[in-house]
């Protein structure tokens, strides 16, 4: 009766063995509205420097000052995103510019919510887009660690998922005060849930196998591969946890990670420099750490909206429309900026002076699901949206 561990192992192993290989999809949400025009700079646009006299990132060919890193002769990376240049060069990183949703409220809550549900409140469709993706998969493919929200609670994108778990760190799931006591508790729970009704029995068994997996991972000290160094931040730690889960082969199919604080109404540079370093440093370390596992991983970075094209009088920018997305992965056709660039001149902007959305964020997500995430049903995940692929994958 003691030591369910071997049995649990078998459960995990068997399930992994029969599942078709799918990518792990890592969704990074930059909360607060990240300024795409500072992150990936359209330096050939004269209007850019007119609209952003003090916040504009200088052309790459400037001799002095904070200048951008040339990508393709039209766009430049913010110098604080320098670690991403290497990924661009190895062509695992694609940038989707002028991307966003059709949200017109410019409200953080509404726009984040819309993006995570991928459908309007009124449609009667409930749950998040990732949740609907998992609902569309065969029940037999479900494994306990298939969907993890790194953080104190699940994000809206995972609300309603058949299996999804909020996880802040590997250390938070402890049953007992010491290993022997924990094993005794696990054995007792295994016995109790073994005689429960089918629903609870399955749920209990899955939870025990998660505990077992996490316990084993805790026992092995983890050193990121290839000397990768993650930023010392929540974001860095979350990505490190995701890398561990991926490399441990626990069946992770989707992980969500948040990086918040992008709402740069004043003193923008000070605020987002640090965040950009965190973002780029984290992603570069993640890529290095994954090594060949990047071939089975796709990372998508999104934000609820970009920011106004012109700076305000407080050296900040206000809520706008289109922003920038990043897609990183072994299968990504990278080294490209994918955009129907709408332009920044008068008449090209929208509303109070915002970059137009010319790529619907759902097209990016849909292409990832369709090409890298096994079985899905796009018409259920993105109801009412006619999907157009952008050729993000080879």
């Amino acid at each position: 009766m003691l030591l369910t561990r071997r049995n649990l192992l078998r459960v995990v192993f068997d399930v992994n063995a029969v599942r078709p290989q799918k990518d792990t999809l890592v969704c990074v949400f930059l909360r607060g509205g990240a300024d795409g025009l500072s992150m990936v700079v359209p330096f050939e646009e004269k209007a850019y420097y007119r609209l952003r006299p003090s916040l504009g990132i200088a052309r790459p060919d400037q001799t002095s000052g904070t200048k951008g890193i040339n990508l393709d002769g039209k766009f430049a990376l913010n110098p604080k995103l320098a670690p991403l240049k290497e990924l661009w060069d190895e062509k695992t990183l694609a940038i989707v510019h002028a991307a966003g949703s059709d949200d017109q409220t410019r409200s953080h809550f509404e726009a984040q919510d819309l993006m995570e549900r991928a459908t309007a409140l009124e449609t009667g469709v409930s749950g998040g887009w990732l949740a609907r993706h998992f609902q569309a998969q065969p029940a037999g493919d479900r494994t306990p660690l298939m969907a993890v929200g790194l953080g104190p609670s699940l994000p809206e994108s995972l609300r309603g998922a058949p299996v999804a778990m909020a996880l802040e760190s590997f250390d938070e799931f402890h049953l007992g005060r010491n290993a022997t006591s924990q094993a005794a508790l696990a054995a007792a729970l295994d016995r109790l849930y073994g005689t429960a009704d089918a629903d609870l029995a399955r749920s209990g068994r899955q939870s025990l196998s998660v505990l077992d997996t996490l316990e084993k991972m805790r026992q092995q000290a983890y050193t990121p591969a290839a000397g990768a160094t993650y930023p010392d931040s929540d974001f860095g730690r979350s990505l490190l946890s995701v890398a561990r889960l991926i490399k441990a082969g626990v069946g992770l199919e989707a992980a969500t990670v948040d990086l918040g604080g992008w709402d740069s109404h004043f003193g923008q540079a000070l605020l987002i420099d640090r965040l950009q370093e965190d973002l780029a440093g984290g992603l570069a370390a993640f890529r290095k750490d994954l090594g060949p596992a990047l071939d089975r991983t796709t990372v998508v970075v999104m934000t609820e909206f970009g920011r106004r094209a012109y700076e305000n009088t407080a050296y900040g920018t206000d809520h706008g429309r289109a922003g920038v997305m990043f897609v990183l992965g072994g299968a990504v056709k990278g080294g490209r900026v994918v955009a129907d660039w709408p332009g920044l001149e008068e008449g090209q902007l929208e509303g109070p002076g915002d970059l137009k959305v010319t790529t619907d964020y759902r097209d990016v997500l849909a292409e990832i699901l369709a090409k890298r995430s096994g079985q899905t049903q796009l018409e259920k995940v993105f109801p009412g949206h006619e999907v157009k692929f952008r050729g993000l994958f080879a």
């Binding site: 919510d113 549900r117 609670s153 309603g160 058949p162 799931f173 049953l175 022997t180 729970l189």
Partner: protein, 498 residues
């Protein structure tokens, strides 16, 4: 407690009432007021299953001593008492929740406080009342109607407006007349914001009214999605409600609800086959309420939802029919309808059929062990991790009732159970030795008594064996493993269902 303690406690309690200081409230006051753990109480025994079942569903589980109370007065009398919550003295709970200033303010004054303050006060208040109120059925219904008229405090300024909605819509009518509650909700600033009713005005050429609220009124609040209304009815209801709005953030007397005659579409309308004459102005709302609240589909829909909450995920049609009949016969008396549900045969036969949702799981665990908690963020965090933080459901359908979406929360339940019994949740503590003494559990082996306390019944052999084998396998100190064993009981499948 001897006489001197009693008097001391009494004066302490009146001092507390006078100051209303949250920090001062404590065991002494609660003791005197009867909300603490009794010095002696009996756990579930043979023949008490019905009472345990009643407390599991019509309350958030038994508090130590509650079973004796129900056994003493009888189930029917207990239900009758609970149906009239104002008659139940609830001073101890009132003291615990007295420090929350924002709960008493009109909508406009809520804005004097910062968002985290108003959110936290309402959330903590909700949890504390669920744990400590003696008006348990009332609190259970508050939870039910909060889901039914869901408002997400993350949207726009609902954080400030939900608290008045909780007080003036949900709590004011939780056991009252259904139509009154729908009306209060229709004119609640929080609902006018959450479902965009305040945007709904007479359409100009080529425009349409904002039908968001009208749709949810029919689909979620009254008739139900299969209730027999059409898209045309939605549009017509939206027209009837044009002109109702509440003042915006940058206006004086913010959140004040008013009717703008100029923005009302005062033409003729037809709602669910009934004609509404032109010129009705604000009275159109009353007519709509009359039509939708008296519609037979509404009786069925509310009856079915109540039965799903109180009886089972797929409630027997016979029970729904009985409840719907009461609803119809009493013109939507919630009190009478709930009474029908709680006293029907199908209710009695439904033991163990519901999976506790996270909120009920957490509250019932705190109650089972007579925990002392201030509902701190450390405790609320568990509800967030399990996906049921109060007032955080984004879509208007409210947190789901069915078991399925909650089955993935087991690990967090176990984590919570173990943290609770080992006093590892900030602001929350349990006194297991005291409980053991009050139950007269044998000092050498209190586990069997705790099993009966937690499960509310004679434990099954497998439950006894699992606990016993844990106790013999664990190398911890006796008091530590006894505590963990209680955590194991709270984590067991038997405590997940009710």
């Amino acid at each position: 407690m001897n006489r001197r303690d009693f008097i001391k406690a009494g004066s302490a309690a009146s001092a507390l009432l006078a100051t209303g200081c949250e920090k001062l409230r404590g065991k002494v006051g609660d003791w005197f007021l009867g909300a603490g753990v009794p010095d002696r109480f009996a756990v579930a025994a043979a023949g008490m299953d019905e009472h345990v079942h009643l407390l599991n569903r019509a309350a958030f589980g038994p508090w130590p001593g509650d079973l004796e109370r129900v056994a003493h007065v009888g189930a029917d009398k207990w239900i009758e008492e609970q149906l009239f919550p104002d008659s139940i003295d609830d001073l101890a709970c009132q003291i615990r929740t007295r420090g929350f200033e924002t709960l008493h303010l009109p909508p406009g004054e809520m804005y004097e406080y910062k968002k985290p303050v108003v959110e936290k006060e309402l959330t903590r208040f909700t949890l504390l009342r669920a744990v400590y109120s003696k008006r348990q059925l009332f609190e259970v219904l508050v939870e039910f109607w909060t889901d039914h008229f869901n408002i997400h405090i993350g949207k726009a300024d609902c954080a400030w407006l939900k608290s008045p909605d909780d007080r003036d819509t949900i709590r004011a009518h939780a056991l009252g007349r259904f139509r009154d509650m729908v009306k209060a909700s229709a004119l609640s600033p929080a609902m006018l914001v959450y479902l965009d009713g305040r945007e709904n005005r007479k359409a100009g050429p080529g425009e349409k009214p904002n039908e968001n609220y009208a749709r949810e009124l029919l689909e979620l609040h009254t008739l139900g999605v299969h209730g027999g209304y059409t898209q045309k009815d939605v549009m017509e209801v939206a027209r009837c409600l044009t002109g109702w709005t509440c003042r915006r953030e940058n206006q004086l007397m913010k959140a004040k609800v008013e009717f703008h005659r100029g923005q009302h579409d005062d033409g003729e309308k037809t709602v669910l086959g009934r004609r509404i004459a032109p010129g009705g102005m604000e009275n159109d709302l009353e007519q709509v309420l009359d039509i939708v609240c008296s519609h037979p589909s509404t009786a069925n829909y509310i009856a079915e939802k109540l039965c799903r909450r109180f009886i089972g995920d797929a409630p027997p049609a016979s029970a729904v029919a009985k409840a719907a009949k009461t609803f119809q016969d009493t013109s939507g008396s919630i009190r009478s309808t709930v009474k029908t549900v709680l006293t029907c045969e199908e209710f009695r036969a439904s033991k163990g059929q519901k999976l506790k949702r996270p909120f009920r799981f957490v509250v019932s665990a705190l109650r089972a062990l007579g925990a002392d908690t201030n509902a701190s963020p450390a405790l609320l965090r568990y509800l967030g991790a399990m996906g049921q933080a109060p007032f955080q459901h984004p879509t208007p359908d409210g947190y789901p009732d069915e078991a399925m979406p909650w089955l993935g929360t087991m690990l967090w339940r176990w984590n919570f159970a173990l943290a609770l019994v080992t006093n590892n949740i900030g602001g929350t503590s349990v006194d297991l030795p005291r409980l053991a003494k009050a139950m007269s559990a044998p000092e050498s082996d209190p586990a069997p008594m705790f099993l009966r306390l937690v499960l509310g019944r004679e434990p099954l052999p497998v439950e006894q064996e699992a606990v016993a084998s844990y106790l013999s396998a664990s190398p911890l100190e006796p008091h530590q493993k006894r505590a963990e064993a209680v955590g194991l009981m709270l984590a067991s499948p038997g405590f997940q269902r009710c």
